[in-house]
Amino acid sequence: MYAFSYHSPKTVRQAATLLGKNPDAKVLAGGQTLLPTMKQRLASPSALVDLGKAEGMSGIEVKGRNVVIGAMTRHADVATSAIVGEAIPALAALAGGIGDPAVRNRGTIGGSIANNDPAADYPSAVLALGATIITNKRKIPADQFFQGMFSTALEEGEVIVKVSFPIPSKAAYEKFPNPASRYAMVGVFVAKKGSETRVAVTGAGSDGVFRSAECEAALKARFNPKSLDGVKVKASGLNSDIHASSEYRAHLIPVIAKRAVAKAMAK
C-alpha cells in the first residue's frame, strides 16, 4: 500500500466537496474490494474519503411500494433485515450469500453496486428488480446504471446515497458459484412484477451484468420453470476462463434461471 491521506466527512455534502478537491481521491465504504486492491498496489488513490461516519447513509425502510436501502448498509444487515425479508426475501437471501461473514459484516450495497464487479451478486438484483440508484446528484434507473465491467454511470465525485427497490410480486436469486472465489460464475435474478418479468444474469457476461432476452421472452407468456425448457443462450459475449468456458456458461444460464423461477414460485 502506498501512503494516502484519510478523510472522514460527517455528511454526504462534505464528502462530495472532498472528492471535488482531490481528483484522484476514492470513496471508502466497506473496503472489501478497495483495500485489498490498494494493498496489492493495483490502486493508489492519494486520498480516501471514508463514508463510515457520513449521516443518513445506512438503514432500510419501506417507502410506498419500494424498499429503500442506504448505500452504507452492510450485506449482513440486508441479509437479516425483517423489512427486506418480508418485502423482497430474494434480496435478503442474495445478501446472505455474498462472501463470508467477515465480508458481509464490512461490505456495503453501495460499494458493491459502485464497483460493478462482473461477478458480483447485487447488480443482478438491481437490474432485475428495476431499482433506482439515488446519488448526491440525481436518480439513475438500473437499466442505465451498469455500463460494462467495473464501469457505471457514476460521474467523478458522484456518491451513491440510496438504492430504491420496487417490491416485486415474485422474485428469486440463484447463484452458481465460481468454485474458487465463490463469487457468481452464473447468477440469475428473476423478478415478476405485474405483467413484466425481468431476468438479470451476473458472473457470465464479459461486459458484466445483463438481462437475458432469451429467458425473458420464454417467461413472458408463463412464469413457470417449464417455460425455460429448450431455451438456448448464445455463448458469444460470455466470459471464458479456467473455471468455465463461454459455452458452459451459456448452458448454465437457462438451467440456473429455471431453478430461480422454481424458487420464486415456491414462495
Partner: protein, 787 residues
C-alpha cells in the same frame, strides 16, 4: 498409567489451548531487537536472461540498508541450494542437476524466481525500493508442457533436453514376457494434477547474527530444523554447525512444503551478517502460491496384464514427472523411490517395470506434498484396477480381493517387503460400513431424481517411516532416516522429552506425552515435549512421511527403556535389593515378593541426590538418549469407498457417502488419528474435485490466489465414516504404522472411480470440476442409468 491419558486414549490436544487462544509463537511472531525487513524482487518472466540489473537507485531509497543480488552471494562464496537425493539414469550416469543460486545469477527460470533482496527499516520501504530496481530481461520462451519440454530451449545448460533423469525400476524382461502371455490388457492414461500446498501459515524467516559470539540464529518455518542447519552449514556454507542455531517454533502446517531449504531463509540468515541487523521476511499469500514447492504433476501411461480368470500377471508404467525449474531439496526421490516401489499396491503382482522421466520446466520447483509419490502411485494402481474390473465385467471388490497379497511377509518386485497386513479384513469392513449391497437401490433412487450416482473404491497401501538408513543411502539419499530422542527426568520426577520430530499440526505434545505417561506411569501433565530448536535437541531428522510415530516415538520408547533400566539400578540401592528383583509397573519400582516399593518420582530423586550409592557404583542422574533406525518401512493400508451423486444439468459432483477403513497398526490417540484421516481425505477430495495449479503458455501462474485456486471447504465434504482394523507393525517396538498421509493417498482414485462409474466412461481428468464433469457427460451423451 490411567487409561484416560495412556496409549489408546483420545486425550484432548494439550497444545490446542495455546493455538486457539492466539498464544502460539510462530516465526512471524518473532521480533528481534533492531530487526530490518526483507522484500524479494521476483521475476515476472518464466524464462529470461538478466542482461542488466541496476540497483543503484534502490540502494539510495529511503530506509534501505542494502540491496543484495546473486553477485553478492558469489562474492561471499555462499553455495547454491541443493537436492539431497542422487538419482541415476538407466545407463548408470548421474541425474543432471542445474545450479540453484538463492538469488538469480544471470538467469531466471520461473515466475517468482528470486532476482534481488532489498533490506530496509520497514517492509513498505523495502517494497518501495524494489520498484526502483531496473532489470533488463532477455525474455526466452517458457517451457510449460512436459510433453514438448525436450524441444527446449534448455532451462539449465547441463540438461540440453530439459530431462533431469531417465530412471527405471523392476524387471523389464520378465514384465514383457508376462504381457506376451496375457489374455487381457487394460491400458490407461492419467494426469496427476499439480497442487499448491497452502499451509495456513505462510513461510517466514528471521536471520539474526550475533557479532559477539559469531553465532547465526535462524528462526524459520521448518518441518526439520536440524536438516536445515545441516544443509545451510555443510552445503550452502553459511556457518559451521556449532555457529548456527536453527529454531522452528510453532509451525502452522507444512504438508511437506516446509521440509525444504528455500532461498528466502538462506538469504535472511546470510544477510543478517551483511547488514549487521536481524533480517525478517514473511511470505504473503501470493508469494506462497508462486514460490512454495508445488506437488504431484505427473503424466502416466499404465498397462495391466491379466489372465483369463482376472489374475494380474504384470504391470508396466511410464511416467513423466514435472520437477519445475530447479531441483528442490528432496524433489528427485519423490517420483522415483517414493513412487515406483508403491506400484504393487495391495496386490500380488509377479512382474512390474516402471520408467520415470524427470522433466525441467519453467515453473515453480515441485517436491514432496502430503503423501509424496505414494498418492501418485495409488492413483495409477487404483484407477487401473477399477478400469480392469469394469473391462472384465467383474465386481471391483471381488477383483481386488482376488488379487490381494494374502501371506506375509511379502516381497514385491519393486523393492518393498510388506511385513504384515490384512487387506481382506479392511475390505470386508468397508463394504459393510458403506452398505455396498444396497448401492443399486440408491442408484435407482438418484436416477428417479434425475441424478447420476456412482461408487468408487480405493484399496491403498503406503510406505511410511522411510528407512532403514543404510538402505536409503544405497538408493541415493544424502542423509540417514533414523530419529533421536532424549528423556530427561527431573529430580522430582517430571519429564522432558527432547525429540528430533517436529510438530506442525500433528499433536506431538499430546501423543508423545501419552507414551511417556503410559510407560512411566506419571501424569501426562508432568511431561513436556521439547522440539524444534537445534540448541536444545542435539540432532533429528524432522517430521514428514508419517514418520513421527513409527520412528520418532520408537526412539522415545527406546530411551524410556533405558530410563527404566537405570531406574531399576537406582531403586535397587534405595530399596537395598538385588537389581534383578526390582520390578517396574504402574509407576512404581518394587522388590518382587515384598511390599517394598518407591514411586517413579522418588527414584528420580534418589538418582539425583545419590546418597545411596557411590559414583563408582553408578552415575548419578536420570537422563537417557536413543537413536532409532528402523529395519523396514511401515505399511499402512486400507480401503476407502466414495459414493457420489452428479447433477447432469450442471456437472456438480456431490460426495454423498465416504467410508474409510484404515489399518494403522496400533493407535496412540484415536481422536488425533481420525483428525489426520479427515484432513487427508479433505485434501484428496480437493485434488480430485477442485485443486489444480494452472500455468498459461507463457508460464504465468493463473491460479496465484484464492480467487482462482480452489481449496476444499467444509461444505464440500460429507461426514466421513471412519473404521479401523489393526495388524500391528512387526518392525517397530510400538506396532505403529503412521496415519498422516493415508487420507490424501487413498482418496483421489476413490472419487474419480465413483465419477467414472456414474458417467459411464473413463475419460475425465482431475480436478473433476463442474465444468469438466459436464463436458465429460456431453462427450459421452451419458444417459441416466435407470436400470
Amino acid at each position: 498409567m490411567s487409561s484416560t491419558t495412556g496409549i489408546g486414549a483420545s486425550v484432548l490436544r494439550k497444545e490446542d489451548i495455546r493455538f486457539i487462544t492466539g498464544k502460539g509463537q510462530y516465526t512471524d511472531d518473532v521480533n528481534r531487537q533492531g530487526q530490518a525487513h526483507a522484500y524479494f524482487l521476483r521475476s515476472p518472466h518464466a524464462h529470461a536472461t538478466i542482461k542488466k540489473l541496476d540497483i543503484s537507485a534502490a540502494k539510495k531509497a529511503p530506509g534501505v540498508l542494502d540491496v543484495l543480488t546473486g553477485d553478492d552471494l558469489a562474492h561471499d562464496k555462499v553455495g547454491g541450494l541443493i537436492c539431497g537425493w542422487m538419482i541415476h539414469n538407466k545407463d548408470g550416469s548421474p541425474m543432471k542437476a542445474g545450479a540453484h543460486p538463492a538469488l538469480a545469477q544471470g538467469k531466471v527460470r520461473y515466475v517468482g524466481d528470486h532476482v534481488a533482496v532489498i533490506i530496509a527499516e520497514t517492509y513498505s520501504q523495502a517494497k518501495d525500493a524494489a520498484e526502483k530496481i531496473v532489470v533488463d530481461y532477455g525474455v526466452l520462451p517458457a517451457v510449460v508442457d512436459m510433453n514438448t519440454a525436450s524441444k527446449g530451449p534448455a532451462i539449465h545448460d547441463v540438461a540440453s533436453d530439459n530431462v533431469v533423469y531417465d530412471w527405471h525400476l523392476g524387471d523389464k524382461a520378465a514384465t514383457e514376457a508376462a504381457f506376451k502371455n496375457a489374455k487381457h490388457v487394460t491400458k490407461i492414461d492419467l494426469v496427476n494434477n499439480r497442487l499448491i500446498p497452502n499451509a495456513m501459515e505462510p513461510r517466514a524467516a528471521v536471520g539474526d547474527y550475533d557479532a559477539g559470539t559469531e553465532v547465526f540464529t535462524l528462526y524459520t518455518t521448518s518441518q526439520n530444523p536440524h536438516v536445515a542447519r545441516l544443509v545451510l552449514s555443510a552445503f550452502i556454507g553459511i556457518a559451521p554447525e556449532h555457529k548456527l542455531r536453527v529454531i522452528a517454533p510453532d509451525v502452522g502446517g507444512g504438508f511437506g512444503s516446509k521440509i525444504f531449504i528455500y532461498a528466502e531463509e538462506t538469504v535472511c540468515v546470510w544477510a543478517s551478517k551483511r547488514v549487521g541487523r536481524p533480517v525478517k521476511w514473511t511470505a504473503d499469500r501470493t508469494e506462497a502460491f508462486l514460490s512454495d514447492a508445488h506437488g504431484r504433476d505427473h503424466i502416466t501411461h499404465a498397462e495391466l496384464a491379466l489372465d483369463d480368470k482376472g489374475k494380474i500377471l504384470a504391470f508396466r508404467v511410464k511416467t513423466k514427472a514435472n520437477l519445475g525449474a530447479y531441483l528442490s531439496t528432496f524433489s528427485s526421490c519423490v517420483p522415483t523411490y517414493l513412487y515406483a516401489p508403491l506400484l504393487s499396491g495391495q496386490y500380488d503382482i509377479p512382474a512390474i517395470y516402471v520408467e520415470v522421466e524427470g522433466i525441467y520446466t519453467t515453473t515453480a520447483p515441485v517436491d514432496a506434498y502430503r503423501g509424496a509419490g505414494r498418492p501418485e502411485a495409488t492413483f495409477v494402481v487404483e484407477r487401473v484396477m477399477e478400469v480392469a474390473a469394469r473391462e472384465l465385467g467383474m465386481d471391483p471388490a471381488t477383483f481386488r480381493r482376488k488379487n490381494f497379497v494374502k501371506s506375509f511377509p511379502h516381497q514385491t518386485p519393486v523393492i518393498m517387503c510388506y511385513d504384515t497386513g490384512n487387506y481382506t479384513a479392511s475390505l470386508d469392513l468397508a463394504l459393510e460400513m458403506a452398505d455396498y449391497k444396497n448401492f443399486g437401490k440408491r442408484k435407482k433412487e438418484s436416477a428417479k431424481n434425475g441424478k447420476l450416482r456412482g461408487i468408487g473404491f480405493s484399496a491403498y497401501i503406503e510406505a511410511c517411516g522411510i528407512a532403514p538408513s543404510a538402505a536409503v543411502g544405497s538408493l541415493g539419499a544424502g542423509v540417514g532416516l533414523w530419529e533421536s530422542a532424549e528423556v530427561r527426568v527431573n529430580p522430582v520426577g517430571t519429564v522432558e522429552v527432547l525429540t528430533g520430530s517436529h510438530s506442525h499440526g500433528q499433536g506431538h505434545e499430546t501423543t508423545f506425552a501419552q507414551l511417556v505417561s503410559d510407560r512411566l506411569g506419571i501424569d501426562i501433565n508432568s511431561v513436556a515435549i521439547v522440539h524444534g530448536d537445534t540448541d536444545k535437541v542435539q540432532f533429528g531428522m524432522g517430521t514428514y512421511g508419517s514418520r513421527s510415530g513409527s520412528v520418532g516415538m520408537s526412539a522415545i520408547s527406546k530411551a524410556l527403556d533405558k530410563v527404566i533400566a537405570k531406574g531399576k539400578k537406582v531403586a535397587s540401592y534405595a530399596l537395598e535389593a538385588s537389581e534383578k528383583d526390582i520390578e517396574f509397573k504402574d509407576g512404581r519400582f518394587s522388590v518382587a515378593g515384598t511390599d517394598k516399593s518407591l514411586a517413579f518420582g522418588e527414584v528420580a530423586l534418589q538418582a539425583y541426590i545419590a546418597h545411596k550409592f557411590t559414583g563408582a557404583e553408578l552415575e548419578p542422574g536420570l537422563k537417557e538418549g536413543a537413536f532409532y533406525d528402523p529395519t523396514n518401512f511401515t505399511f499402512p493400508s486400507g480401503v476407502h469407498i466414495c459414493e457420489v451423486e452428479i447433477d447432469p444439468d450442471t456437472g456438480v459432483t456431490s460426495i454423498e457417502k465416504w467410508t474409510a477403513v484404515d489399518d494403522f497398526g496400533n493407535v496412540i490417540n484415536p481422536m488425533i488419528v481420525e483428525g489426520q484421516v479427515h484432513g487427508g481425505i479433505a485434501q484428496g477430495i480437493g485434488q480430485a474435485l477442485m485443486e489444480g495449479a494452472h500455468y498459461d503458455k507463457d508460464g504465468q501462474l493463473v491460479t496465484a490466489s484464492y480467487m482462482d485456486y480452489t481449496m476444499p471447504r467444509a461444505d464440500n465434504l460429507p461426514s466421513f465414516q471412519i473404521g479401523m482394523t489393526n495388524t500391528p507393525c512387526t518392525t517397530n517396538p510400538l506396532g505403529l504404522k503412521g496415519c498422516g498421509e493415508a487420507g490424501a493417498i487413498a482418496s483421489p482414485p476413490a472419487v474419480i472411480n465413483a465419477i467414472t462409474d456414474a458417467i459411464g466412461h473413463e475419460n475425465i481428468a482431475m480436478p473433476a470440476t463442474p465444468q469438466a464433469v459436464w463436458m465429460a457427460i456431453q462427450a459421452s451423451g451419458s444417459k441416466i442409468a435407470a436400470e
